[in-house]
């Protein structure tokens, strides 16, 4: 068992070393956007058997695979236009989608019905690795069947006996991962979308997510920002958030900020907006008239690279007119289901 610690500079080396091991049918412990995972070449029967044996996984239980993009996904599972539309909401992100397999990976990974779970993570190290490898790799959590997943290499290794350790060829150590739950598993093979496992972010149906607590709303904020913020876009990003008092708008924005490394976001109601570098957090709760909106000087902020988030943005109809043509707009609506639970709808 070899160890490599991931740092800012050794991405290339990690990709190269991991691919060498995968090509030889080896088993790699690898970090992800959720928990530590176990990677083997999804087309290599011996490697998959080794993985199943390591995990003590009962036969017949399917194992998902990582792919780097939609293009590769379409080679391995059937994606019709309706599903493609849905998938665009979910990738990249902490979701595993189950689709009809095209039977090009090791059959042990598929379910008895011939379906396959695929996942495009929001984790550049994996998408890069799988892209260079040019074939899917397994995406199962690095733990023995029935045990909890691991957020650090140390806790995983401590769980393993000597015989198990011998299975592992390479460990990529990225330190302690944030405590994100394993991915949400969504079955798209039937007419009605079914959630088989709840992760951090729960997908309800097209454009719609369910948050069961403020932490999950924050995670969804991170997810939405990562998904819709394209640093290469020539236009600024404007996010309009509609939701009743106490729906969790600021919690969502705090999540967005966290994704950008901004940790000190608080409610801007008292002063209408706060700026954090190129991230502007508005609260239009107090704004009643169009004149006031004009006086905020929003036009001046509509520059490439800026992100403008508006709580209560729907209150002033003119805001949309102001942003239209000048910004990429994401519209989010938060609905109250009960004390803790919220429905969150994202529209472009």
């Amino acid at each position: 068992m070899k160890f490599i610690t991931h740092n800012l500079k050794n991405t290339e080396e990690i990709v190269k070393k991991t691919i060498e091991v995968l090509k030889n049918g080896g088993l790699v412990v690898f970090p992800s956007d959720t928990v530590y995972g176990l990677l083997v070449d999804a087309k290599n029967q011996k490697a998959v058997e080794k993985l199943i044996k390591f995990k003590n996984r009962p036969p017949g239980k399917p194992i998902s695979v990582f792919v780097p993009n939609l293009e590769m996904m379409e080679k391995y599972v059937s994606v019709d236009n309706r599903k493609k539309h849905l998938l665009k909401e979910l990738i990249p992100g902490p979701f595993t989608v189950i689709l009809e397999s095209k039977h090009k990976v090791e059959s042990l990974l598929e379910s008895e019905k011939g379906t396959l779970g695929v996942r495009i993570p929001d984790y550049p190290l994996i998408t890069k690795l799988v892209g260079v490898f040019a074939a899917p790799v397994t995406a199962t959590s690095a733990n023995l069947s029935g045990r909890s997943p691991h957020y650090s290499v140390e806790s995983l290794i401590n769980e393993l006996g000597k015989d198990k350790k011998e299975f592992i060829d390479l460990v990529i150590d990225a330190g302690k991962l944030p405590r994100n739950k394993p991915s949400t598993i969504i079955d798209l093979t039937e007419p009605k979308v079914r959630i088989l496992r709840k992760g951090e972010i729960i997908f309800d149906r097209e454009n719609t997510f369910v948050s069961e607590n403020p932490q999950a709303t924050g995670k969804l904020g991170e997810f939405i920002l990562a998904k819709y913020h394209d640093p290469k876009s020539i236009r600024p990003l404007a996010i309009i958030i509609e939701g009743d008092l106490g729906a969790g708008k600021t919690v969502l924005v705090k999540g967005m900020g966290r994704k950008l490394g901004i940790e000190n976001i608080v409610s801007p109601t008292y002063v209408i907006y706060y700026e954090y570098g190129s991230f502007y957090h508005f609260d239009l709760y107090q704004i009643e008239e169009v004149d006031e909106l004009r006086n905020l000087g929003i036009e001046k902020l509509l520059k490439k690279g800026n992100i403008l988030v508006f709580e209560w943005g729907e209150k002033v109809a003119e805001l949309y007119g102001l942003l239209k043509n000048k910004a990429d707009i994401v519209y989010i609506k938060i609905e109250y289901i009960n004390e803790k639970k919220r429905k969150i709808i994202v529209k472009l």
Binding site: G246, V271, E288
Partner: protein, 339 residues
């Protein structure tokens, strides 16, 4: 050493001349009437009002103390409203250049922490510093617990993670149809309601191990409570105001007590607009009594709100240490400045 201090972080255009801790002149142009109809501070209006009034306020404050005879210019750099801070900073730079004075930049929160030590022109009150203190800044825009170790030496040990305490009270007042600013009217109604806690609204994060505050959950639960049970008469409004205020103050008191226990510091300094609330003052006095400590409030009522006198007093201590702005041109406002 005489210092001209300018403060335009939010909705007060304020200028003062101070010498050490003594305030020689102090002028505040309050914009509260401008913002009242909007139910909160509107940045563009604040900016315009600051621009319109700042020269007048400066000239009033310097009537007996001509700028030529002063030693330095101090200005609030943040936190606050970006467009409002800009007005004061721009004018401070211009004056410093024109009269060839040194420039001092001040954190608004430092000002609130020094507000109990601000003296009138005759040097009253004459209290001395007894460091360390636990400082609490409680206002519409801030809720912070600070370990105030020595002059100009602070460590924030707790703050709000969402709404400020004063903001939460303002929002509750708005929901009850009481207008803006909500603090004074909530205090009055709560008092009429005998400060009773009839509804026992939630106190978020009261049991968290840290010293941070959260008032967003309280606001949410208040909002949905009102939706289901709209108040039927004035007496019910009083009970609601009283219960809401109690939930906020109870949280402040319990977290402050936790801070006293953790730090072992039993001398408190209270600043910010919410510290004008007499009922909160009573609660804080009871708290320090229990811990054999002391509590200091802003020495004069005008010092609870935003003002330039407290900015000037901090500037005096900075000047004593020789801390001036080195590169004037690059001095910029920091809207989310922390201590």
């Amino acid at each position: 050493m005489k210092i001209l201090a300018i403060e335009t972080s939010c909705d007060e255009t304020a200028v003062a001349v101070v010498e050490g801790r003594r305030v020689l002149s102090n002028v505040i142009y309050s914009q509260v009437l401008i913002h009242k109809k909007w139910g909160g501070v509107v940045p563009s209006l604040a900016k315009r009002a600051h621009e319109e009034k700042i020269d007048y306020v400066i000239s009033e404050a310097t009537k007996k103390f001509p700028l030529e005879e002063l030693d330095a210019v101090a200005v609030t750099q943040g936190p606050g409203l970006a467009v409002a801070l800009e007005v004061g900073i721009k004018r401070a730079k211009e004056l410093a250049d024109k009269y060839d004075k040194k420039l001092i930049s001040i954190n608004h929160l430092e000002g609130h922490l020094y507000s109990p030590f601000v003296q009138n022109s005759r040097g009253s009150p004459a209290i001395e510093f007894e460091f360390p203190y636990l400082g609490l800044v409680i206002s519409g825009g801030h809720t912070e617990i600070v370990r105030f170790k020595n002059h100009l030496d602070y460590e924030v040990i707790g703050s709000t993670i969402d709404d400020a305490a004063g903001e939460a009270i303002d929002k509750a007042a708005k929901l009850l149809g009481l207008g803006y600013p909500g603090g004074p009217v909530m205090e009055t109604l709560a008092k009429q309601g005998k400060n009773k806690d009839s509804f026992n609204f939630p106190r978020p994060m009261l049991h968290s191990r840290d010293l941070n505050f959260s008032f967003s959950g309280l606001k949410t639960s208040f909002y949905y409570f009102l939706k289901k049970n709209p108040p039927k008469n004035a007496s019910e409004i009083r009970q609601l105001a009283s219960s809401f205020q109690e939930a906020v103050f109870d949280t402040i008191i319990k977290k402050t007590e936790k801070a006293i226990i953790i730090t072992g510091i039993n001398r408190l300094i209270i600043g910010g607009g919410v510290s004008a609330n007499l009922y909160l003052r009573k609660k804080l006095r009871d708290l320090v009594k229990k811990h054999n400590g002391k509590v200091l409030f802003p020495s004069f009522k005008y010092l609870t709100g935003d003002n330039a006198a407290m900015i000037g007093v901090v500037a005096s201590y900075k000047a004593n240490e020789g801390i001036y702005v080195e590169d004037r041109q690059s001095l910029d406002r920091i809207p989310r400045m922390s201590l």
